[in-house]
């Protein structure tokens, strides 16, 4: 297995939603990649387009949304032009997804057992009920659940949030996907449970060599889990690179500002918190230049007029800022 094999490569993705108030450009231009056996994080605030990008890849956009440009090549095949029927074959078996709120993602009318065996059998009719049951139990055990038989007989309402999310992950992994897309899977959970789910995901990555595209707003989770990170704002990738590059040598003013705004335990509270002034981008009327320019402390005239190109800083580190030069130099 090639270590740097690229499993999913998204290039120039552009997604718009038609609403009564106008066209919302949720994603303006997003390019990122997921390598085999790695966790790639997309981090951003609400409205940054991080979830929409993932939904667009799997053709799960709402009816008024459309991927207008770009490509999403998964194992040599572009997913964006595919029809619903082909996508459905890929979803669940080759690419799986888990969501923010595990409680609502489970149908309250089915037991966990019924749900899991149906997931398996809907992708492969040749699997017998007994076999499906056996494999479901196996999968729940792999999720660290001590009493899988009891859980299989439960209805979702009897389970806690963390347990539901384990079941959802089990369901996502039943058909042995190569890529797991996780959309804020721990945001609705308590930190102690979040920690358990994160270490479960890391185990799965290491043992099964699974690749994960992890969408989150939490830098702490990114640091804990991800190998590579893309920072998104207003529908554009601001900066991307390895976790070390993003956390220790971020060059984009947005990344720097966000990292300073992260509340830290060692902060004794004597100083006011670093705040990022202003409001997020109006996605119906995005600014002409850099989307971050109106809030940027370093903003220049050029920033307001021209959208910055993505500069390659070497070693897979890229940033889209007028103050960042190709090859790594930062000019002020």
């Amino acid at each position: 297995m090639n270590e740097h094999e690229i499993l999913l490569e998204v290039r120039g993705l552009k997604v718009s939603f038609h609403t009564p108030r106008g066209i919302v450009q949720a994603v303006g231009d997003a390019s990122f990649q997921v390598r085999r056996g790695e966790v790639t994080g997309i981090v951003g605030e609400s409205g940054s387009g991080k979830s929409v990008s993932a939904y667009a890849i799997l053709g799960l956009l709402a009816g008024n949304g459309k991927a207008e440009a770009g490509s999403a090549v998964f194992r040599g095949r572009d997913l964006l032009p595919l029809g619903e029927k082909e996508l459905r074959r890929i979803r669940g078996s080759e690419i799986s997804m888990i969501f923010q709120d595990p409680m609502t993602a489970l149908d309250p009318a089915f037991t966990i057992g019924k749900f899991l065996t149906e997931v398996l059998r809907s992708h492969d009719r040749t699997v017998s009920r007994r076999e499906a049951w056996r494999r479901s139990i196996q999968m729940l055990t792999a999720m660290g659940i001590r009493t899988p038989e009891d859980v299989m007989r439960c209805y979702p309402e009897a389970l806690s949030g963390g347990m539901c999310q384990r079941v959802m992950i089990a369901a996502a992994l039943l058909c042995g996907p190569q890529l797991l897309i996780a959309d804020e899977p721990t945001t609705a959970l308590d930190v102690t449970i979040q920690e358990e789910i994160l270490s479960l995901l890391l185990q799965l990555k290491e043992k099964q060599g699974m690749s994960i595209l992890f969408i989150t707003h939490d830098f702490g989770v990114v640091a804990r889990l991800c190998d590579r990170v893309a920072v998104m704002y207003g529908g554009y990738i601001m900066e991307s690179g390895s976790v070390e590059q993003i956390f220790h040598s971020a060059v984009h003013p947005y990344t720097q500002a966000l990292l300073r705004a992260v509340p830290r335990l060692e902060d004794d509270g004597d100083e006011p918190m670093e705040a990022l002034a202003g409001d997020p981008v109006d996605l119906i009327h995005p600014p002409q230049g850099c989307v971050f320019a109106p809030r940027c402390p370093q903003c220049s005239e050029e920033c307001l007029l021209k959208r910055p190109l993505t500069a390659d800083l070497g070693d897979g580190h890229t940033a889209a800022c007028h103050f960042v030069r190709e090859g790594g130099g930062i000019h002020v």
Partner: protein
């Protein structure tokens, strides 16, 4: 409030429906005043074709159909509007009481509403007409009462939702009494729901009223009513189709317009989302 009105006027369908309804009402009110005949007067030969003198011709007794349509519309529409309004006002008040009082009061009211809605509304109207005196228009109350339960359920549900909402709790935290919460928050948020239900309820009342006219209950000849006009016309459907088509079309048009109006009100009063 200004922006909400603007939103309504941007809704072309609803505004067209409203204009059509207003025109129909104006026609019903004004036409008989300026016509030189009236609904019971025999003003010419029987069963004339439409002409300048009688724009819709005359009926089997020689009465002007146009003027009978207008006068019938006065009856039909006022029954529809009045009973719809009565149902709306009583239903909203009862719904607020039921939702806010809760407990025993609430269960008594809700069981009463179940009882009312188990009686077909047509039957209720006929019973009121027979019991309280025929031909005096008491059937209107029957129609109105039949319209109350859906209002009560809708408003009660809304009250429960709103009084459990975080903003009602915030209001209580500011020191507000129940009455203030009802006035400031519940009524404000219930009204749009009630407005939509009112148009629906008027359309239902209109249907029942015309059915009553069709089966000759409640309104006695020679007073015209759209349902009754359709009834007389249908016997001459082959030879004089306009005699039945015109009242039928008027009924259908009014009902459609009321529904479209309701949809328009809902769209303009719905809360528009934030950024997206």
């Amino acid at each position: 409030m200004k922006r909400k009105e603007q939103a309504f006027f941007h809704n072309l369908v609803a505004i067209t429906a409203l204009i059509i309804l207003v025109l129909i009402v104006l026609f019903c009110v004004l036409y008989p005043m300026f016509a030189d005949t009236t609904y019971w007067k025999i003003s010419g030969e029987r069963l004339q074709r439409p002409s300048l003198e009688h724009p819709l011709g005359t009926d089997n007794l020689g009465r002007d159909v146009m003027v009978r349509m207008a006068c019938g519309g006065r009856i039909t529409l006022s029954v529809a509007f009045c009973s719809g309004l009565v149902a709306a006002v009583t239903g909203t008040v009862i719904g607020i009481i039921s939702g806010y009082a809760g407990g025993g009061v609430d269960s008594v009211i809700m069981r009463l509403m179940d009882a009312i809605s188990s009686i077909p509304s047509l039957l209720l109207a006929i019973v009121f007409d027979y019991a309280l005196g025929m031909g005096k228009g008491y059937f209107l109350f029957g129609i109105a009462i039949a319209g109350i339960p859906p209002f009560v359920r809708l408003v009660r549900g809304g009250v429960l939702e709103i009084s459990g909402s975080a903003y009602a709790e915030a209001s209580r935290a500011l020191g507000a009494r129940s009455l203030h919460v009802i006035k400031e928050h519940v009524v404000r948020n219930i009204l749009p729901l009630a407005a939509i239900q009112t148009t629906t309820s008027m359309a239902d009342a209109l249907t029942i009223c015309t059915i009553l006219g069709y089966i000759s209950v409640g309104i006695n000849p020679p007073v015209p009513e759209w349902g009754a006009l359709f009834d007389t016309g249908k016997e001459m459907l082959r030879a004089f189709p306009h005699l039945s088509i015109v009242p039928a079309a008027a009924i259908i048009l009014c009902i459609i317009c009321l529904y479209l109006l309701g949809n328009g009100i809902r769209d303009s009063l719905s809360i528009r989302g934030g950024a997206a």
